[in-house]
């Protein structure tokens, strides 16, 4: 029998072991992949390796949340909030910055965003106070807190289509009742350009639930 994993690990110098341990903390990276990445760093030119280190440092030091919409940005307010050509009367509410990026990459939406930084998750003890809901409502109640001082006309709820996302959308819709804004939500169900027979069961169930009247 060869040496066990414990014996093999001790073979690395302490600094290399530290790098492997740091890589292994990344999502989806196991011990083996972490070792591969560490050896890649060891073998690479000093400039390349330090470039990686500096990029990580810059991200942590310079990237923060936009004070208006909570999007990730290295300037405050973010480029979207600062862009006067966007429709500042419409706010699309999403859970995470990565949702904003996905929507933004379509190039189809010209309004502003608000990132909640999560969703209502009672099983984790996450309630409205843990999200950026107060900041969102402030943008609606006080146009001065929305870019350009523009009053919000429409709120588009773009939460994930599952029970927690729907619960969060319901909570926001109730908060918006009695405020003079139109509330819409992103359509859901079958992906366009797809074929019914290839859709998974969850998508089909959602599409059946959300069926619409044809006039």
């Amino acid at each position: 029998m060869g040496p066990g994993p414990a014996a093999r690990r001790q073979a690395f110098p302490g600094t290399v072991e530290r790098l492997i341990a740091e890589f292994a903390k990344l999502p989806g990276i196991g011990r083996r992949s972490a070792e591969r990445l560490a050896f890649h760093v060891l073998k690479s030119e000093p400039g390349a390796a330090l470039g990686l280190a500096r990029a990580i440092q810059d991200v942590k030091e310079r990237v923060r949340h936009c004070s208006v919409c909570s999007n990730l940005t290295d300037e405050d307010p973010c480029a979207i909030c600062a862009d006067p050509s966007r429709d500042r009367g419409t706010i699309l509410v999403v859970e995470q910055p990565k949702d904003l990026i996905a929507l933004e990459q379509t190039g189809m939406y010209k309004g502003l965003y608000h990132v909640l930084m999560g969703r209502l998750s009672p099983l984790d003890g996450i309630g409205p106070g843990d999200l950026t809901i107060a900041e969102f409502l402030a943008r609606i109640d006080d146009p001065k807190k929305n870019p350009g001082g523009v009053s919000v006309r429409e709120v588009v709820l773009g939460l994930n289509p599952n029970v927690e996302g729907d619960g969060t959308a319901l909570y926001l819709a109730e908060q918006l009742k009695g405020r003079a804004v139109q509330v819409t939500r992103l359509a859901r169900g079958l992906p366009s350009g797809g074929q019914l027979e290839y859709a998974n069961k969850a998508v089909l169930a959602d599409a059946i639930q959300g069926r619409q009247r044809v006039d």
Binding site: G127, G167, A202, Q209
Partner: protein, 247 residues
């Protein structure tokens, strides 16, 4: 290792990576199973598109005795409860009863009657057939009964005498029941919660629930059973706060 097939309700899930999930499934015949569903969110995988919280499906899993974590190999979605997000009270009630089930049961300890009670409760909440508070109260009662924590409703836990049906009483969580003499000098230590006689009367109907209880009594009884369950479990359930407030 043979695989196991069972009816299940998803009572907790964590995204483990872009495509994989870890889940707690309350199965009918195998109790709560915690497991990993690798690749569950890939389109072609046999997981109906992913295991979603508060849905019912047929699960196929490999339960290794040597590991707490099962390997989930398939999930066939059978039922969703879209009405749970028609009202915030239904939403929070559904989350709460899932939390109650998860924290009250040990892994792989079968409780088919409680599985049926949870399924019925979710259907009632989704269809808005019963007020959410009533659904929650019934499920709490089913849980306390199934787990062997049913409070004593007939006799005074201090004196052993039959309990009156009205008047002021106290609930002694450490003794698991009611007393009409909370200040007795030689009684065992522990908190005593003041309770109305109507609350006891309502709890006595829960084995054969009638539909004539007033909402205020239902709310008080639910609060009492939640507080009692908190004492039994030794912890507050995260999902209790939106329904009952902080204890």
């Amino acid at each position: 290792m043979p695989s196991t097939r069972d009816q299940a309700l998803c009572i907790r899930h964590w995204d483990w990576s872009e495509t994989s999930q870890t889940v707690s499934l309350f199965t009918r015949d195998h109790g709560v199973i915690r497991g990993i569903a690798k690749g569950a969110k890939r389109d072609k995988a046999p997981f109906s598109g992913g295991i979603e919280l508060l849905t019912r499906g047929e699960v196929v899993a490999i339960l290794k005795p040597s590991s707490d974590l099962a390997t989930i190999t398939a999930w066939d979605l059978q039922e969703t409860f879209p009405g749970l997000t028609r009202s915030l009270e239904a939403f929070h009630s559904a989350m709460y009863i899932a939390d109650v089930a998860r924290h009250s049961l040990h892994d792989r300890d079968p409780h088919p009657a409680l599985f049926d009670a949870l399924l019925t409760a979710l259907r009632h909440l989704s269809s808005a057939e019963l007020p959410p508070r009533k659904v929650v109260l019934r499920f709490l009662w089913a849980t306390l009964n199934e787990c062997g924590w049913r409070p004593e409703l007939q006799r005074d836990v201090l004196s052993g005498a039959p309990l009156p049906n009205s008047g002021e009483l106290a609930f002694a969580p450490s003794l698991g029941g009611f007393t009409s003499m909370p200040d007795a000098a030689d009684s065992p230590p522990g908190p005593r919660w003041r309770v109305r006689g109507q609350t006891l009367a309502l709890l006595r109907t829960l084995d054969h629930p009638a539909d004539n209880a007033d909402p205020a009594s239902i709310e008080r009884a639910g609060k009492l059973l939640n507080a009692y369950l908190t004492t039994v479990l030794g912890r507050e359930l995260p999902a209790a706060a939106p329904l009952f407030g902080k204890l």
